[in-house]
């Protein structure tokens, strides 16, 4: 093999602490190396041209680039060598930036280390073989998990693009958090009025199949050919017959059911449609509160239902859908703020969350749009908003900024004044983060036109004092302690990853950060992809974000899916395992350990042998490390390839 080695300066990123010329000079002495040089920016257009030219001029049949991490540019350079007529797998990278120049300052040690990394790469390359991918068919249907605004946007865009969409929503209605909001910032227009029509579009779109009150049970397969098992949870109402008339709700005698949609502000009936604009507008029985299901007595809803759709015997149902791509848009949940003992830990009824306040502000909410104290129903005079509850707070394990609380707090301060012109609002804040279009202007308006008193500091304690609550905090600008008598305290509670996010991630085989937010493929360049091909992200499941960003990401995910499906066939990754049929003794250990069921037993001239199903194999290599005689070999990471790296490093 004739290897070309290109050692990148990356401007001064590498050259600053690595003598790249010395690395290239040392590389010339390595086996197989026929050409070695250092270049300023290997990934740039001229840098890539240099590789192409060198391949042609020196008849190179393998290339090593020593530069940044392969997670950054491996694909780039593979395409480069392909342009020059080489197979893309006859290429190796040595990571001398992230793993060398950026983490050490000793130029001698760095140069030595970089040289060894190049030596390892070249040694491995000597064992590389050209690999060719196979083509396979795609199932051009997409599964979208989560019917919040991001999922709705992704579903509509995909459906408009002509794809069949399966939309799975955990609760009985789509709309997500946005449907619960009264108004949106910074335009203060009605949340439900802008979201409602999109929800109706989902219901009516011929390309969209909606499974509400359903969850993902199991995911198997691979990009282009996923198989998804969906659990349709029992609602005890036959939705094919339910017309959403709501008569059952008016007659249901069990009126103490938890009102999830209204965030527990008020109660609802055991059989219930969460809100008038719900999509689908279907009733569901909350089994925990239904007298019939709990005690076997009642059944009034069944008697009054004009379409006879009540079915107390209904069971969970499973459907299997075949799709080619999956978009996760599972949103967020509010942080459990009751860990803040100093704010009463949930003991004071007049300390509520921002989302509860939204429901209170909403004309369709439980108070009919009137601001009333939960404790006594009185209108509050002094309303205190506390920001960063469960955001930017290491002590509760949430060091990140949720990002949208500053804005909705300003909005709520404004709305408070709209509802109760006599009221005085106070906002305890750490910093104002208003970085969107028209955002800062909006917070200014809250302060200047709506006279919200912004106090920079955290609240250390809330405690009841007579009829009201005493809010004690610091005013860090004044350098004093402040105490405010509050009638109502609204906590701007930060966003947490959605409950169950981790479980779903495991099913989807995607990774998540320590808070449960899904990891994107690359923080800059692959914001909606995941590291699992064919699985994309939209909305807050990837990290807290406001409505426009969620919508944008929904569209972005849809465009990724449409792009993926624009081809008729996909190429399989040839980095799969291959069984050497001569060496295989048919013991089946690989079959037993493969997480993907990608290895099957075959009969070869009367002998049992293992065979890899290329399109199912994901290239993890567990079979290779399991096979005792080394018959199963993961291509591009064979025993000999890894051993050659070991030997390049350690043979004293």
């Amino acid at each position: 093999m004739k290897i070309g080695v290109f050692v990148c300066h990356c401007g001064s990123n590498i050259e600053g602490t690595v003598d790249t010329a010395a690395v290239a000079a040392a590389a010339r002495e390595f086996p197989g190396v026929a050409f070695a040089t250092d270049t300023m920016y290997t990934c740039s257009e001229p840098g890539q041209e240099e590789i192409v030219n060198a391949i042609k001029e020196h008849q190179l049949d393998g290339v090593v680039v020593a530069s940044c991490t392969p997670r950054m540019h491996e694909q780039t350079f593979r395409r480069t060598v392909e342009r020059a007529g080489l197979n893309r797998y006859l290429f190796e990278m040595a990571n001398i930036r992230e793993h060398v120049s950026w983490i050490g300052k000793d130029r001698e040690a760095n140069t030595n280390k970089a040289t060894e990394l190049v030596r390892m790469a070249a040694s491995k390359l000597l064992h590389n073989r050209p690999l060719l991918s196979k083509q396979f068919d795609i199932n051009k249907r997409v599964l979208i998990i989560g019917g919040g605004v991001a999922g709705i946007q992704a579903a509509l865009d995909c459906a408009e693009g002509g794809l069949e969409v399966i939309l799975v929503e955990k609760t009985t209605t789509i709309g997500g958090k946005m449907a619960k909001l009264d108004k949106t910032f910074p335009t203060v227009d009605c949340s439900c009025c802008i979201l409602g029509p999109r929800m109706v579009d989902v219901a009516q779109h011929p390309n969209i199949t909606l499974y509400a009150y359903s969850e993902i049970e199991e995911v198997s397969g691979y990009v282009g050919n996923f198989e998804v098992k969906v659990k349709k949870k029992a609602t005890y109402v036959d939705w094919d017959k339910c017309t959403g008339c709501g008569i059952c709700m008016t007659k249901c005698p069990s009126k103490k059911a938890t009102d999830f949609f209204n965030e527990g502000i008020g109660k609802t009936t055991a059989i219930n449609i969460p809100f008038p604009q719900a999509i689908p507008k279907k009733a569901k029985i909350d089994a925990n509160f239904c007298m019939k299901l709990q005690k076997g007595k009642c059944g009034i809803c069944a008697k009054v239902c004009p379409s006879g759709c009540i079915d107390f015997t209904q069971q969970d149902e499973f459907v299997t859908e075949k799709v080619g791509a999956i978009v996760a848009a599972t949103g967020f949940d509010l942080f459990d703020w009751t860990v803040y003992g100093e704010y009463g830990g949930g003991r004071y009824p007049d300390v509520i969350t921002s989302l509860q306040y939204e429901r209170m502000l909403s004309a369709s909410g439980p108070t009919g749009g009137h601001i009333k104290r939960p404790s006594d129903g009185k209108e509050p005079k002094n309303v205190v908003f506390i920001q960063c509850v469960g955001s930017r707070d290491k002590s509760v394990g949430r060091p990140y900024c949720t990002g949208f609380c500053c804005m909705y707090t300003a909005k709520q301060a404004i709305l408070t004044k709209d509802h109760l012109p006599e009221a005085q609002t106070y906002v305890f804040y750490m910093d104002i983060r208003a970085t969107g279009k028209n955002y800062d202007e909006f917070t200014r308006r809250a302060m200047e036109e709506y006279n919200a008193k912004y106090i920079r500091g955290r609240v250390s304690m809330i405690y009841p004092k007579g009829d009201s609550l005493l809010v004690r905090g610091a005013d860090t600008l004044m350098g004093t302690q402040v105490e405010v008598d509050a009638d109502l305290v609204v906590l701007a509670v930060g966003a947490d990853s959605s409950a169950g996010a981790a479980g779903l991630a495991e099913k989807l085989r995607i990774s998540y950060d320590s808070y449960g937010f899904y990891m994107e493929g690359h923080p800059k360049l692959k914001p909606v992809e995941t590291n699992t091909a064919g699985v994309y992200l939209a909305g807050c499941c990837q990290g807290p974000k406001d409505i426009p960003s969620s919508v944008a990401q929904g569209s972005a995910a849809a465009s990724k899916v449409l792009g993926l499906f624009s081809k008729d066939k996909l190429a399989s990754d040839p980095q799969v395992s291959v069984v050497d049929i001569k060496r295989c003794i048919g013991c089946g250990k690989c079959i037993k350990t493969c997480p993907f069921g990608a290895i099957k037993e075959i009969d070869f001239r009367g002998m049992k042998k293992a065979e890899v199903i290329e399109t199912v194999c994901q290239g993890c290599g567990i079979c290779t490390s399991t096979c005792p005689q080394g018959a199963a070999q993961l291509q591009h990471f064979t025993d000999n390839q890894i051993l050659s790296e070991v030997n390049a490093l350690c043979q004293f």
Binding site: S514, S625, F637
Partner: protein
């Protein structure tokens, strides 16, 4: 290729591509200074790391071997690190019978976001290996070695 005399020991890392290699990248992006001894071999998954690679590396004279994969339940391939955990734990407990300090081999889990953790792991492991010093080396080919010694004596 020799280690930098007096400065470095030979430490080899086997890292899964998805989490730990990314974590090492993240450490690089964060400019988290680390000792320079470690040489990283990238593999797709910790499940790909046959414990025999580690034995081979140690027998070839490495002073330390560090393996890192995704945190349990976070494996890109769902189960790879679960297999790895069992196999590597067995190896870790087996090494002392060979007269190899178990501390010359450690395995851990570092995610792609844990740059700082990676820095700590590398620093701590490198310190641990330096504390242990160079690994005992196996003498060369047996018979010929004996002969060579005898020739030298003659």
């Amino acid at each position: 290729m020799p280690v930098l005399k007096g400065k470095e020991l030979r430490i080899v890392g086997f890292l899964c591509n998805w989490c730990s290699y990314g974590g090492a990248d993240t450490a690089g992006v964060g400019r988290f200074n680390q000792p320079t001894d470690l040489r990283i071999i990238r593999v797709p998954c910790s499940g790909r790391i046959d414990p025999l690679f580690i034995m081979k590396t140690l027998l070839n004279g490495a002073d330390g071997v560090l393996v890192s994969g995704c945190h349990p339940r976070d494996c890109h391939y769902a189960e790879g690190n679960f297999y790895a955990r069992r196999r590597l734990e067995v190896l870790h407990r087996f090494l002392p019978i060979l007269g190899i300090e178990p501390g010359r081999f450690e395995y851990t889990w570092v995610s792609a976001s844990e740059g700082q953790r990676w820095q700590q792991v590398v620093t701590r492991f490198t310190e641990q290996i330096h504390k242990l010093g160079p690994a005992p080396k196996i003498a060369g080919p047996a018979a010929s070695e004996t002969l060579r010694q005898m020739e030298a004596a003659l």
